[in-house]
């Protein structure tokens, strides 16, 4: 998919949201509602909580996360998500690449790139 110029932030959110999920469940396994509450603190990341569930489904189908059902002290059982080895590897790779990527975009936005193309 070619990113549309109309909504670059929406495109960006779609691209990074999965990594944010991987990063959060790397710290400890979380169930969906919990994850929605944590990410919901930053509306820039999660505009609607429902978006999270199709995403978790795809991550699981792609073998990046696994889930287990556990009983909850009160009420229905909960589905807890955790990273697979593949999910963790992807997260590590993204952690390495992201700072350079951000720095490059910042340089463009701030006008810090030399305009003659020389290094």
């Amino acid at each position: 998919m070619v990113g549309t110029a109309a909504a670059p932030v929406a495109e960006l959110r779609r691209a990074v949201l999965p990594v944010c999920v991987l990063a959060l469940i790397q710290r400890r396994s979380l169930y969906g509602y919990e994850l929605a509450r944590i990410m919901g603190q930053r509306p820039e990341l999660l505009t609607s909580h429902g978006t999270l569930y199709p995403l978790l489904l795809r991550l699981e189908e792609n073998g990046l996360v696994t889930s287990v059902w556990r009983p909850s002290p009160a009420g229905p059982r909960r589905k807890y998500y955790a990273n697979t080895a593949k999910g963790s590897a992807l997260l590590r790779q993204f952690r390495r690449e992201w700072p350079n990527f951000v720095a490059a975009v910042d340089a463009c936005l701030a006008g810090d790139l030399p305009m003659d193309g020389s290094p």
Binding site: P18, T47, S48, H49, Y53, L57, E61, N62, A74, G75
Partner: protein, 226 residues
């Protein structure tokens, strides 16, 4: 299963209705997660109806959820964009692949190649597929049972039937039995060719439409045509 408060229950029902286009497995998993989410939200809200209302609003519309769930997964590292991240689950995400095309071929002409049985094999493949939604499976089965074999029969049976002598001379008082007792006289020979051809055309059109729907829903549900 514990009951949800009515507002939450009606959200789940809206979602179930909106999700008919999704493959059955994905639909069930999505509805189950949302139900769990709303259970938690309802428990947390307690008697506070506004809090529950807010939690439902925060989910976004069922339609937006479905759109998200049926999107291809570029961005989620599913298709080798990052090299080697897409392997598991890739098979059932590939839109119509070899298995789906085989199913479609059997539904269309299986009944002709291996009379009757071929079509049943196609139906079995259709119903065990995780690519097609429940609705698509029903359409695939009911829109023209036996596929093009039905059109074939419509054309061939009247022709062969008319070969046998059905004509009853007006002056003959007792009607003679024909040599084709399994097919009553008049279905074929008595029916005008225009009717037969129209009927056959309608069956062919319906079959083509049904197959096109299956191809489209396999492609839309899972992203791309293989």
């Amino acid at each position: 299963m514990t009951a949800l408060p009515p507002v939450a229950q009606s959200y789940v029902e809206d979602l179930e209705r909106a999700a008919v286009e999704l493959p059955a497995r994905r639909r069930a998993a999505l509805v189950e997660s949302i139900r769990e989410h709303l259970m938690e939200a309802a428990a947390e809200a307690g008697d506070d109806a506004d809090a529950l209302e807010q939690a439902i609003l925060a989910l976004g519309s069922p339609q937006a959820l479905i759109a998200e769930a049926s999107m291809p997964d570029q961005g989620d590292f599913g298709n080798g964009a990052h090299g080697g991240y897409g392997a598991p689950g890739a098979r059932e995400r590939a839109g119509p692949g070899a298995r789906e095309w085989t199913t479609l071929a059997l539904l269309a002409v299986g009944g002709i190649v291996v009379p009757v049985m071929g079509w049943f094999v196609g139906v079995a493949l259709l119903w065990t597929s995780s690519v097609w939604s429940h609705r698509a499976k029903i359409i695939g089965t009911l829109v023209v049972p036996f596929g093009f074999a039905l059109a074939f029969l419509l054309l061939v049976v009247p022709v062969s039937n008319s070969v046998s002598d059905c004509s009853t001379p007006a002056d003959e008082p007792v009607r003679r039995f024909t040599s084709a007792p399994e097919l009553p006289c008049g279905v074929g020979s008595g029916t005008s060719p225009v009717v037969v051809i129209t009927l056959t055309g309608a069956v062919v059109l319906a079959e083509v439409g049904g197959l096109a729907y299956l191809v489209r829903s396999a492609a839309a549900g899972e992203g791309r045509l293989a």
